[in-house]
Symmetry: C2
Subunit: 202 residues, 2 copies
Amino acid sequence: MTSVENDRRHSRDDVARTALRLLDENGLPDLTMRNIANALEVRPSALYWHFRNKQSLLAAVSGLILAPMADVGTEGLAARASLELLGGRLRDCLLAYRDAAELVSSSLALGLVEPPIVGRPGGGAPADLWRAAATAVMHFVVGYAFHEQQRLAADSLGLLADADGADPGAAAGDRSPADEFSEALTMIAMGFDAAVAQRAVL
Amino acid sequence: MTSVENDRRHSRDDVARTALRLLDENGLPDLTMRNIANALEVRPSALYWHFRNKQSLLAAVSGLILAPMADVGTEGLAARASLELLGGRLRDCLLAYRDAAELVSSSLALGLVEPPIVGRPGGGAPADLWRAAATAVMHFVVGYAFHEQQRLAADSLGLLADADGADPGAAAGDRSPADEFSEALTMIAMGFDAAVAQRAVL
DNA sequence: ACCTGAACACCGTTCAAGT
DNA sequence: ACCTGAACACCGTTCAAGT
């Protein structure tokens, strides 16, 4: 009954969802308060009734991007398997929308969004080790996806390393990004297992 | 003989070094082309003779921040020890200037600066494993330092988790950030070792 | 409760022209 | 080689006022 676009008045959630759509369509640099307001057929100042400032609006968008993480079930899994599953799903969430990794990266750094993975049950592992592993996985996945997504954007613009810029990844051989990603993710998970085993001995 | 500040004409390097000083003094949000130009006693448009745009100027600043990485000697070290040493030194570089982690994070994602660590000799380990480990360490360290540095900035402004924002790190117990950092770093390094050992068996 | 109108104090970038 | 002057096309945010 209630269409998101046709009503003249909006909710906080409408604003965030419209912003997410604009992010995916036009990218983060074009996600301005003025463009969001235009899409909602509203003046920019109206957005400040719903959100304190742009950063908290972006934090709400980050929350939408990370929402599917709540549906990842890890019951019955060993801690290491949870780590790999959650890391993979986090990457999926970030690659699902244009520039999502960059946006989530800054919302996480600002502490404006709940960090994924680390709040999960660690399957009985020592809390500090689980915490360290979850943090390592989160930062790795976000950073990797950020880099990955920028390469996609650059490639789609047809500009490939002109002149004095560095050219990372070109000498990576024939491995796909997904392969390198999961190899690194598995390594962190193995390190977690090794740390747990070492702790058990002491 | 040649002072950086007093001469009327500047080099590309002068500009980058002045920008780094301003970054450290005032933070990334205030690092505008206009402020950089003011510090050099020059009009903003003059900066565009030295740099194609703001992003490439920021990439040069990132290069200065990461420069000490070149002096880290890893000859004679095992691959795992190199990984831990390089990760620790990378953190030192990023924490040495205000907001450096955020700046380097985006320059790395944009591929405008040479990624640290990954270009180093891997001590005879399989190239793909070394590459995955170096990438994991880099993204973890940058992401962790980014988060750490934002907390420092927030704390120095006296605003501690007001209202609906998340509050990460508060339940971490009595472990310092440096402890959690090196625990996670060690875990990645152990995972690298485990992956190498497993590869050797197959 | 939700939005408009109007203003404030800024941005990055281009480019002809100067020396 | 290095910079100025002037302009263009934008930003985020505030706040009194409307309905």
